[in-house]
Amino acid sequence: MDISVEIGKIKLKNPVMTASGTFGYGEEYAGFIDINELGALVVKGLSLLPKEGNPPPRIVETPAGMLNAIGLQNIGIDKFLKEKLPYLRQFNTPVIVNFFGDSIEEYVKAAGRLSSADGIHGLEMNISCPNKEAGWSVFGTDPQVTYRVVSSVRKATDLTLIVKLSPNVTDIALMANTAEDAGADAVSLINTLTGMAIDIRTRRPKLANIRGGLSGPAIKPVAVRMVWECYKKISIPIIGMGGIISADDAVEFMLAGASAVAIGTGNFINPGVTMDVLSGIKSFMSAEKLNSLKELIGRVEC
């Protein structure tokens, strides 16, 4: 059975990835799973300079989901390269670095810096994080701005470039199209839906940042729909995510058009979820007598 898949220049031994921001820099999960068994590992979003992030409370549970407003806290690219990347290099699992910037210039600089490091296999541009107000949040919602930032980053790196799309848009397929036209090797979707929760007794938002990003099983139907809509319109691969907690969920995303899947919130519920999903995909394929992921990807019958 062949469950390998290619995302740009990266060859994944299997389609099960981790979603940025939910898997730290890998170490935290080493006690629960064999990192070598992952299709790819995507690290917490990085920026040129370290970011402090938002004050707590940063997370709140919602029906079958959760809101987070971490505020992109990260140690910065330099510290990552020095302190975290060496650890990750020991595994034979491709490392994909999620990153973001405050301006096109910063995106380009960050991509450049990351591209010269050894042991990074791909870059995932976060143009969609809904946690921060103002300026850069529009990167992922205005096609023209998206085109500019993606094509600029494209020129700055030879690594596989994945653009991570925001679901908080009217027309997701248009955004995917734009990313493809601007030179992306793949798109990943979906990032979190913007949400809010209020404590009715204190009358205060449950998150210090007021709004946060909704993730987990609650958003799966929206994510599957968006993957399907994008699959019909683009020819680069899609990494599907949003509420995956089981192999059945992963297969659903693949039928909708995802070449690979990423698991975020699911790791919190079950730190071994990636391995459970991986073995579940294999069992499903043998039960259904499938030899390759090609027989699954995009094969929903409408």
Binding site: T22, P57, I70, N270
Partner: protein, 244 residues
């Protein structure tokens, strides 16, 4: 057990490192999606290799937990985080201060300290919410009790009584070390007291958690070195690190 408070005894089906007082476990009540996330509970006591948790019913997960039956199987991960330092301070006199549910981890800690005759302060809202007296007695500890409404022990905040104690019992032959768990405002006050009397205070904090293992950055508190994760760098912090 007092109204709304329950004791859960869990027999581990897999081997695990022996937990320290102040460490915690993430527990799922079952695999349904509501509630979705695991919930953190401190080790209350370790009894013949079984884990005991003491919890108050406040919401979704704890309401389900209380209806579990002997023999039910649940998923736990842990022990997690850093517990209270026990050996580092051999020359010091331990003063334990529990506020409300903060009693949960302090019983395991008191057990570690029995030979050093810790002083134990315990504050709660009312007599009904004073728990574990038998357990404490069995290890030779009689806590100084206070309640907000005076229905048991002294009336008033436990922090006032701690301060009074430190004021009246200065010591030149040894130092005190404070060990505490309880609501944030209590810990903040205690932190000020510790500073005033120049004693070390270790406190177990709480924040909403998603992963419990340091991966999501969800559970941070502000410290003099920036945000730190309660689940990983904590839950026990030295009070002087914390920015309230």
């Amino acid at each position: 057990m007092a109204k709304n408070h329950f004791l859960l005894t869990a027999h581990p089906l897999n081997t695990m490192p022996s937990p320290d007082p102040g460490q915690f476990f993430m527990l799922s009540v079952d695999s349904r999606l509501d509630p979705l996330l695991k919930r953190p509970f401190s080790l209350h006591r370790l009894v013949l290799g079984d884990l005991q948790f003491l919890y108050r019913v406040v919401g979704k997960a704890t309401n389900i937990l209380k209806d579990k039956k002997a023999g039910d199987i649940m998923e736990l991960i842990g022990p997690l985080g850093n517990g209270f330092p026990v050996n580092e301070i051999e020359e010091k006199k331990p003063v334990l201060i529990a506020g409300g549910m903060g009693i949960a981890p302090l019983v395991a800690l008191a057990e570690k300290f029995t030979e050093r005759q810790p002083v134990f302060f315990y504050g709660a809202r009312n007599a009904e919410e004073i728990l574990c007296l038998n357990e404490l007695e069995s290890i030779g500890i009689t806590p100084v009790i206070s309640t907000d409404d005076g229905t048991s022990g002294r009336k008033g905040f436990v922090t006032d009584i701690v301060e009074e104690f430190l004021y009246h019992h200065p010591s030149s032959s040894f130092d005190y070390a404070l060990y505490s768990c309880g609501p944030k405002p209590m810990l903040e006050t205690l932190s000020g007291i510790a500073m005033k009397y120049k004693i070390k205070a270790y406190m177990a904090l709480e924040e909403s958690m998603a992963c419990g293992i340091g991966a999501c950055l969800g559970c941070v508190i502000k410290t003099v070195d920036g945000y730190k994760r309660v689940c990983k760098e904590g839950p026990v912090f030295l009070s002087e690190e914390i920015i309230w």
